[in-house]
């Protein structure tokens, strides 16, 4: 039944998800436009002009940054609302009377929602990459081609990362894989935490949405405080350098979020299994 739940959850979300991807493409287009103004072009040839069109370009870049945040947080907000609607409003009457376990319901929602957040984050990275590329393209001196730029970038990047690793006192390859792993897991952790907060909100007899929001804010504050505590402990535990400090404090913050998400998953399961009270 889990497969069927995942299929139907995907079908109910994919349209909004695709809309978000479309928005991301539009946002990227705005970002690209901001680098097409004369100011950026004149930089490449060593000059420097600034006109009305450049003010427009600066605003477009600002708009790009704002829309990027809106799209990125928009998908999480949408998934939270979708979870609330399908679990705890009238639509929950259908979901909770299906012959499926509560674990199957929760896992399907976390997997599909997390995957969509991951897709949006990936599209955001792609957008930033394309923006960076358009900036390079705009400011590249006339005698340089993009092929030459890439050749130099490839040659220099490895050395740059090695030197940064030595300077920060970390193995850059290990750091990269750790960062990739946490990036892949974080969307699922974020949604499990959000769903847990929404479920706790259902324990209130009135104002359940408000309770859910307050609960989510409270959880984020508590996580932040515990992570800060761990960071302080790390700082005073004789670490070798700034890189190692960053590495350990980010790892401890991730562990705190992961443990909280695991706990909140079981809270959601308990609420839907033993404390479900549909209005």
């Amino acid at each position: 039944m889990l497969g069927r739940l995942i299929k139907h959850e995907w079908k109910s979300i994919y349209k909004v998800g695709c809309l978000m991807l479309g928005a991301m493409a539009l946002v990227t287009f705005f970002g690209w436009m901001s680098f097409q103004t004369p100011m950026w072009r004149s930089m490449g040839s060593g000059g420097g002009s600034f006109g009305w069109l450049d003010i427009f370009g600066a605003f477009t870049l600002l708009l790009y940054a704002v829309l990027l945040v809106v799209v990125n947080s928009g998908i999480v907000i949408y998934l939270g609302v979708h979870f609330y609607k399908t679990m705890y409003t009238d639509q929950g009457y259908l979901l909770h009377t299906l012959p499926v376990t509560k674990h199957e319901i929760l896992v399907s929602k976390i997997l599909v929602g997390g995957l969509w957040v991951l897709i949006i984050i990936f599209s955001m990275y792609l957008s930033l990459f394309l923006l960076g590329l358009s900036m390079v393209w705009a400011v590249l001196p006339d005698q340089y081609t993009m092929a030459e730029f890439w050749r130099e970038f490839r040659n220099g990047a490895g050395e740059l990362f090695r030197m940064a690793g030595v300077e920060l006192g970390i193995d850059f390859a290990i750091w990269f894989w750790k960062a990739l792993f946490t990036s892949l897991i974080t969307p699922f952790v974020t949604l499990t935490t959000l769903f847990g907060a929404i479920s706790i909100g259902q324990l209130a007899s009135k104002h359940r949405v408000l309770m859910a929001i307050l609960c989510y804010v409270g959880i984020l504050i508590a996580e932040s405080m515990i992570s800060s505590l761990f960071s302080s402990i790390v700082t005073f535990s004789g670490i070798s350098g700034f890189g190692a400090y960053l590495d350990r404090s980010s790892l401890s913050a991730f562990c705190v979020k992961l443990l909280a998400a695991i706990g909140l998953y079981f809270v959601s399961w308990h609420v839907t299994s033993n404390k479900l009270n549909m209005d």
């Binding site: 639509q91 909770h96 012959p99 479900l276 549909m278």
Partner: protein, 233 residues
């Protein structure tokens, strides 16, 4: 086991002053159409929600086919709530797919037949349908299952008299004879003709559980008239 549903000492208290269902014990047999009757706020819907696992009882137990409400009972109980539980952006065809995927006892052919007889397009979106048509679609979904127990909460409350007749015919003609139908309503005059047994509830208590024929014989009046006498304001 002859009894389909066994309810023992069932209580649902929202707080100390609001006891929606108070210490109810019942045994519902197979093969009957049972009316769950009572004025507004008598606890009918609360009882039905507990039967479907949508509310957690404060005390007592429920057994459907010998099992507590859960995955196994949900596979055998067809439930029509007193509200629209289908998303507005869904097409009827998509909802049929959904029911086919989750309920092994769902008959797509039966559902399409009933939709056709009511002139409802399977390609229509729920959001474009009137309130009455939405209720008909939901009833069709429920009655297209070959369940052991059909629980219908106010199935005729929001539809016109002509549609009421169709709905009652649908209920009588489409349920499995070894199954039971529990119909909650306060429109007793409309459903009385199809009822085998009657449950009266008031203020969360079970007032009466008897066959419709017995009520008519013992009191010399229709169930509707007797209900009005019992629950006179």
């Amino acid at each position: 086991m002859s009894e389909l549903v066994e309810i023992m000492g069932l209580t649902k208290a929202y707080d100390e002053r609001h006891i929606a269902v108070n210490n109810i014990s019942l045994k519902l047999p197979r093969g009957k159409i049972i009316g769950l009757l009572g004025p507004n706020g008598s606890g009918k819907t609360t009882l039905i929600k507990m039967l479907n696992g949508l509310l957690t009882p404060t005390r007592g137990s429920i057994r459907i086919g010998g099992q507590e409400p859960g995955v196994a009972t949900k596979a055998r109980v067809a439930y029509l709530p007193d509200r629209t539980y289908l998303a507005e952006n869904q097409k009827i065809n998509e909802i049929l797919d959904y029911f086919c995927d989750f309920y092994a006892d769902f008959s797509r052919e039966r559902a399409l037949g009933m939709l056709q007889s009511l002139g409802i397009e399977p390609t229509a979106r729920m959001g474009t349908l009137s309130k009455g048509t939405k209720e008909k679609v939901q009833l069709i979904l429920v009655m297209s299952r070959n369940a052991d127990l059909y629980i219908l909460d106010e199935p005729i409350a929001g539809v016109d008299p002509a549609a009421r007749d169709y709905i009652l015919r649908t209920i009588v003609n489409n349920y499995n004879p070894s199954a039971s139908v529990l119909i909650s309503t306060h429109l007793i005059g409309d459903v009385e003709q199809v009822l085998d047994e009657v449950i009266f509830m008031r203020y969360g208590y079970l007032v009466l559980y008897n066959s419709a024929d017995n009520i008519r014989q013992q009191h010399g009046k229709s169930v509707d008239a007797y209900f009005r006498e019992v629950f006179a304001c």
